[in-house]
């Protein structure tokens, strides 16, 4: 086993600004999307998450079809978090307050995001068992969490991708973020979060700040435009990879981030890291929920990544 993808799982219903949306609940949550971004390239990857008993109702067919390793999935309560996402015109989204009130399961309470949140020990259980190359997690910047995690990381020697959580993107969080970055090799943040964190207005200003962070690579996601792959003073802007259809952007950020973690841990250069992130995102946007069948698209993804890389290299 080479890769661990940890964090919360969710079951999503999506509605867009024009009123269209998914007509059923879809698999989602940062860990599942990020996992799909790794699984697109390799089967040697594992989900590490706490879930509700209803997880298998929504995920079993997908787990079975794709031979997903179940060892790291732990049922701790009755329900996964079910979310009802409403997109705004600008592409950002929020929870649907009406459906949250009427249709939520008990575990939709924010409290249960906490109950099911990944602990450093959850990661350590598997990073000590397998010779893990890389780990992904969307996480906050709590000092105690990072102290415990850094000990595990030192012990087991894997690379770590930190996708920052939105509440940590306030300017007064910088000191705690810098502490977390000491244990981070590759970092992921989106444009809204970066503007808020650095108190700036433009992508260029964000990039100047991100170049100074003490990590090897930063994936700076700028929505449907694509992303920047930043490694010290090297900055690559990579427009979104082409997709044959565009259905639902939910989870594209997590998917591309998971993919970038894989590419980085495999030793690819910052250009290829960004390309592989975009290719995974282009697969995620083709349907509601996660990539349904990895075997069906893996060859295409490798080919697309190689072609894009060759083109950019020219």
């Amino acid at each position: 086993m080479d890769y661990l993808v940890a964090g919360n799982v969710m079951v999503d219903i999506v509605r867009f600004a024009d009123g269209s949306g998914s007509d059923r609940k879809n698999m989602g949550g940062p860990s599942v999307f990020a996992y799909s971004g790794v699984k697109l390239w390799t089967d040697s990857s594992m989900l590490v998450c706490k879930v509700g008993e209803d997880f298998y109702e929504y995920f079993d067919e997908w787990l079975e079809k794709n031979n997903v390793v179940r060892e790291g999935i732990k049922v701790v309560c009755d329900y996964c978090n079910h979310s009802f996402l409403v997109y705004k015109e600008d592409g950002t989204y929020m929870g649907d307050p009406e459906r949250f009130t009427k249709e939520r399961h008990r575990s939709d309470w924010i409290q249960d995001f906490g109950y099911m949140k990944t602990t450093p020990e959850d990661i350590g259980e598997f990073s000590s068992k397998y010779n893990i190359k890389g780990v992904y997690l969307a996480q906050n910047n709590d000092y105690v969490w990072w102290r415990k995690f850094s000990e595990i990381k030192k012990r087991d020697g894997f690379k770590f991708m930190w996708e920052i959580e939105a509440p940590c993107c306030e300017p007064n969080q910088m000191e705690a973020n810098l502490n977390a970055l000491k244990s981070t090799d590759i970092f992921s943040i989106n444009v809204q979060e970066a503007c808020s964190l650095f108190e700036v207005d433009t992508e260029e200003e964000c990039i100047e700040k991100l170049k100074q962070l003490p990590v090897d690579v930063t994936i700076f996601r700028v929505g449907k435009k694509g992303l920047y792959s930043i490694a010290g003073n090297e900055v690559f802007f990579l427009p979104s990879a082409p997709a044959d259809r565009v259905v639902d952007p939910t989870g594209c950020g997590n998917t591309s981030t998971g993919s970038a973690m894989y590419a980085y841990s495999e030793g690819h250069d910052p250009l290829m890291i960004g390309i592989m992130a975009n290719v995974a995102s282009a697969q995620n946007i083709r349907q509601f929920g996660v990539i349904p069948d990895f075997d069906a698209v893996r060859e295409f993804a490798y080919k697309q990544a190689k072609e894009l890389y060759d083109n950019y290299k020219k």
Binding site: D78, R106, W109, Y115, M116, K117, Y143, V144
Partner: protein, 312 residues
Amino acid sequence: MEKYLCCGNIMSDSVIKNNIASPLSMGGPGFFALTGVRIFEKSCTLVTRTGANYVDDYGKWLDRHSISHRGVDVNSEKVTYGHIVFRDKNNYTADYPMGVELVGYQMTHPEDIEKHADENTKGIYLFHYPDITVWKLMGAAARKKRFKIMWEIMPFLSADDLPKVQICCKNVDMFSINSKEASILYSISEEREEQIINELMKLPVEMTLYRVGNRGAYVITKDEVVYCKKINPKRAVDPTGCGNTSTGAAMWAHTEGYESAMVLAMANVAAGYNAAQYGAIPEITDDLMKKAYALAEKHCRRIKRRGRYTFK
């Protein structure tokens, strides 16, 4: 390990009455319940996930009462805190400025309890949802380690939760609920107390502590119901945590084999001491333990003199 484990969040509270906020004081269900046990029993401890700054106040309280810190898992920076706003004597709202997600992250998992329970463990207290998965795991742990469980149900229920509560109760020995929660759960008005009690008698548990706020509490078993008014050993200041404290005491007393009247008296005495200040009971001396026990015995005799309700 100690004989009794009080499990669940610790959480400091500021009580807001008439727009005036009290200073933050120690609380949270796990901690209040611990004080309710500790007032009668020294072999007890806390099992909780919490913030590193617990050592500043909770840790000192544990040290003063010779309680080990073994069950405390520091998993984040800060102990959570809440603002509790009382609308009237029995109704309050709470908000958590550090975010409810952190409250969830610090919630106790069944595996924490199983890890800390051993052959000495006789009883545990846990404050949790009616979550079938959680209580199945708890029931399995209890059968393996042979301890009894007191479940104090969390608020924010709906009538839809009743079937789940009935299933969860199959995995516990004791149950605790207040009148507002029971009224919602059974869709019966709080005033129709007999009807609610009849329903509670049907639960598959050995004993239920039914708390009726300012009026006191009932202990309900399959074939008897005893009632006791609130007991105030000192002037009452703040009711926050009285339910958790009395539930902790009732868990201990029932597990130790006391009769229902004494279980109830001990629960109400513990709640009375808790109400005497903001936050949890600050200092439990040997003298206070003796006084509390004597007071409970006195009220037990009164309860028995008055007789018991029999619902068949």
